[in-house]
């Protein structure tokens, strides 16, 4: 198997890079993104830019969002009944919190699996206008655009990888850009990523209240940070896009 880890940045992509990477399995891969949010200068406030990193990992019926700056990883697995079950790992502590399906907002939504694995749903993508395509076969890139409610959306999509290579939305007040910076086709590294998280000590969320003597869980009880991971940018249709700024969702 050919293993290539390439820096893949939209706009400087070469067809050759994609030509090789395409030989990898899109269902077992990693993709690193740089997320950038810019608040434009306005009356009473200065311009502000924040960045964060998100890694997407796919392995069959498992998908992970690694929030590298926050050292938090969310892993979702697809159940036979179509639901998804989340586990949130705190990489700094090598601990995890297991949720039952339903326990995290959106986990019962059938679209959530598609959102987590593709970052942008087909529905969202299909509501955008295809401007042009470039390249063929594995090298093909599709360029989309949309304008809705004062927001201008731009998407560069790799059909072979089923991944956005670049996503941008711009309003009068802010812009948000997600850029693929590194594609990881090495399946052994994907396995290593998931296996490592799987080795963490985990606790059912329902059990946290009975374990207040555990320093890690006590910290969660007091600070409440466990239930509020950030997320990817899986919504291009204005229905759940998260900020790029490294904050917890409350």
């Amino acid at each position: 198997m050919i293993k290539i880890v390439g820096a893949v940045v939209l706009g400087v992509l070469s067809a050759n890079v994609y030509g090789v990477a395409c030989e990898t399995n899109p269902n077992k891969m990693g993709a690193h993104y740089m997320l950038e949010k810019k608040l434009h200068k306005q009356a009473g406030s200065e311009a502000l830019t924040s960045t964060s990193r998100l890694a997407l990992w796919r392995r069959g019926k498992e998908v992970a969002h690694e929030l590298e700056d926050q050292q938090v990883t969310e892993v979702w697995n697809l159940l036979p009944n179509g639901r998804v079950r989340p586990v949130r790992y705190f990489d700094e502590y090598r601990r995890g919190i297991e949720y039952q399906p339903n326990e995290v907002e959106g986990s019962t939504d059938e679209k959530i699996w598609a959102k987590k694995t593709r970052l942008i749903t087909k529905i969202s993508k299909n509501t955008m206008k295809l401007l042009r395509s470039q390249g063929d076969g594995c090298d093909k890139l599709d360029y989309y655009s949309a304008q809705r409610k004062g927001v201008h959306y731009l998407l560069t999509w790799s059909p072979s990888k089923e991944l956005p290579v670049r996503y941008k939305e711009v309003t009068q007040h802010y812009s948000f850009t997600a850029t693929l910076t590194l594609y990881e086709p090495d399946e052994s590294k994907v396995d290593s990523f998931f296996t490592d998280r799987d080795s963490y000590q985990t606790t059912d969320y329902a059990d946290i209240g009975d374990n207040e003597s555990d320093p890690f869980l006590l910290k969660m009880i007091n600070l409440g940070f466990v239930s509020h991971g950030a997320s990817g940018f899986y919504n291009a249709n204005g229905d759940a896009l998260e900020s790029a700024s490294p904050h917890h969702r409350h």
């Binding site: 697995n77 159940l79 326990e103 986990s107 963490y200 969320y205 059990d207 209240g209």
Partner: protein, 555 residues
């Protein structure tokens, strides 16, 4: 001074086999029996908690209770079912039946005797389930977070387990020849059910990976870790026999609950159709305890879903091992969402009694509603109360299936929660609703100008409104939202409404007040007044003549 029950028992065997010590010392078989008896209860009898409570029960003649008059004993534990929970569930059940509600009586509210239990642990003013259930089951109060061991244990210290183990009423009943069973809607390795059969320096050591991964454990030999709780459940019979040489018991007849993950290897090949994780099992030692159980009990029924449960013929079943969920079973209101289907607590109770009552020597059964506690932790009164109502139905099923002449039924809680019934709502006001004062039709307004609910929490995650969501834990996906909110247009009676809380915490907490004890059947009159919680063991022991019968059997 304290001796080790198990070590003493083994020492007895060793001594009796060393150079004819029996004849050398002049001891007779009755001496050996005495040693056995001493070995069995010495540790617990020398415990000060145990002794004081036993003394109280020794005055039983005043209550005209005949020792041993209870052939069967059923202990119901509503985890976290404090007094306010019982009251609110009573009202909700009544209102669901079309009554005003307040006049309603839960099944166990009709029991002729009741009392209070002081729930504190030896080292904690507000307790946890591990310490309280150990007190209930073994007759001695102990520390928070430990299972089946006394207060000399150091939590997480492997070296302090030996010598501090306590016998449980279920174990003694097993030795006495009774059939035995454990039921829980939580994981069957969770603290409350575990305290009936296991000894552990930490309640979280549910399988071997939990011990290996516990960074806080001390004095543990990584090559010889203590036996995890799940393994102790499957090895219950052999472990008990090892502790009492010559003893022959037939093991737990009924085990039903959740927690399959602690019994399966960490290998996706062992996943069941009901799995919610990519790899369902957690065990890192490669053991499949479900297979081990089936090889031990070839006449047994191992089931994981409702269909398997329904297929069990209770009239002929010898052993049942039901693990209906990877982790905890569902809240009663959310049970329909289980992948493979789960039985209700009432159904499990009925099935268990059908199996256990095949023994002419009687039975001991512990039934826990484990998720009342979890619903409160999540700040969901709806789920806590609907689980309590199902719990009451399970109690009624037990009453209906047994003879009050020979069956002692005790209903209690291990601890309460910071859950309140407040304001001055008028008679019949929906218990899950907003306070409407006497003579009024519109919700009363607080000094902040907003309506408020009758039910609320002192601490926890606070308000969230999730519509008809029946999984209380979904509230954990919402932000912590303490304090007051405008509830005017909120349906606070819906399943997904989570009550307001004052102090913001990620998980609502236990409370430290007394809990109720309700009893019927032989020995029930011993339940009165305000008691240390560990008295419950002694009431069951006295009414069932457990220890004496076990002693006789050991002889």
């Amino acid at each position: 001074m304290k001796n080790t029950l198990m070590v003493s028992a083994i020492a007895t065997l060793i001594l009796s086999g060393c150079g004819g010590s029996s004849s050398d010392s002049g001891s007779s078989s009755s001496d050996t029996d005495n040693v056995n008896r001493s070995a069995m209860l010495e540790n617990t009898e020398n415990n000060s908690w145990f002794g004081e409570a036993k003394l109280n029960v020794s005055s039983a003649a005043d209550y005209t209770v005949e020792a041993g008059s209870a052939k069967n004993i059923i202990l119901f534990v509503g985890d976290g079912m404090g007094i306010s929970t019982v009251t609110a569930a009573r009202i909700l059940e009544g209102q669901l039946k079309g009554m005003d509600g307040e006049e309603n009586v839960l099944s166990f509210g009709k029991f002729p005797f009741s009392g209070l239990a002081k729930t504190y642990n030896v080292d904690a003013q507000t307790p946890d389930s591990a310490g309280t259930m150990t007190a209930i089951m073994s007759g001695a109060k102990t520390d928070v977070g430990v299972i089946g061991v006394d207060e000399d244990i150091v939590r997480g210290d492997c070296s302090t387990i030996a010598g501090n183990e306590l016998m449980s009423a279920l174990e003694i009943a097993e030795i006495a020849g009774k059939s035995t069973g454990v039921i829980s809607t939580a994981r069957i390795t969770h603290a409350t059910p575990a305290a009936t059969y296991a000894k552990s320096a930490d309640r979280n050591w549910e399988d071997v990976s939990d011990i290996e991964g516990d960074d806080d454990k001390v004095n543990c030999d990584v090559n010889d870790l203590p036996e995890d709780i799940a393994s102790q459940l499957v090895n219950f019979e052999s472990n008990l026999e090892d502790r009492f040489p010559g003893l022959d018991v037939d093991g737990l007849e009924v085990v039903m609950g959740g927690g399959r993950r602690h019994f399966l290897p960490k290998d996706a090949a062992f996943n069941t159709i009901d799995a919610v994780s990519t790899v369902e099992g957690d065990r890192t030692d490669g053991r499949d305890l479900t297979a081990e159980w089936q090889s031990l009990y070839t006449d047994g029924n191992y089931v994981i879903d409702r269909a398997g449960f329904n297929a069990i013929d209770a009239s002929t079943a010898e052993h049942i091992f039901g693990l209906f969920n990877e982790s905890h079973m569902h809240y009663e209101a959310d049970r329909h969402n289980d992948i493979a289907g789960e039985p209700s607590l009432r159904e499990m109770t009925e099935k268990a009694i059908d199996v256990l009552d095949n023994n002419n020597d009687g039975f001991f059964l512990m039934v826990e509603s484990g998720r009342i506690d979890h619903a409160h932790h999540a700040g969901s009164a709806y789920s806590a109360l609907t689980d309590t109502i199902e719990f009451a139905e399970a109690v009624q099923a037990a009453v209906d299936a047994t003879d009050s002449e020979d069956t002692l039924i005790i209903v209690t809680a291990d601890h309460g929660h910071v859950f309140t019934i407040a304001g001055y709502p008028k008679r019949g006001n929906p218990i899950l609703g907003k306070v409407v004062n006497v003579g009024a039709e519109a919700p009363a307004l607080a000094s902040d100008g907003m309506p408020y609910t009758t039910l609320g929490y002192m601490n926890g995650r606070g308000f969230s409104h999730l519509g008809d969501e029946t999984d209380a834990d979904k509230g954990y996906g919402e932000r912590i939202n303490p304090g007051r909110h405008d509830l005017l247009f909120i349906d606070t009676e819906s399943a997904g409404f989570h009550q307001e809380a004052l102090v913001p915490l990620s998980s609502e907490t236990h409370s430290g007040e007394d809990v109720g004890i309700y009893a019927m059947g032989p020995g029930a009159s011993l339940v009165t007044s305000t008691n240390e919680q560990n008295i419950l063991f002694h009431i069951m022991d006295y009414a069932g003549l457990l220890t004496e019968t076990a002693d006789n059997r050991l002889q």
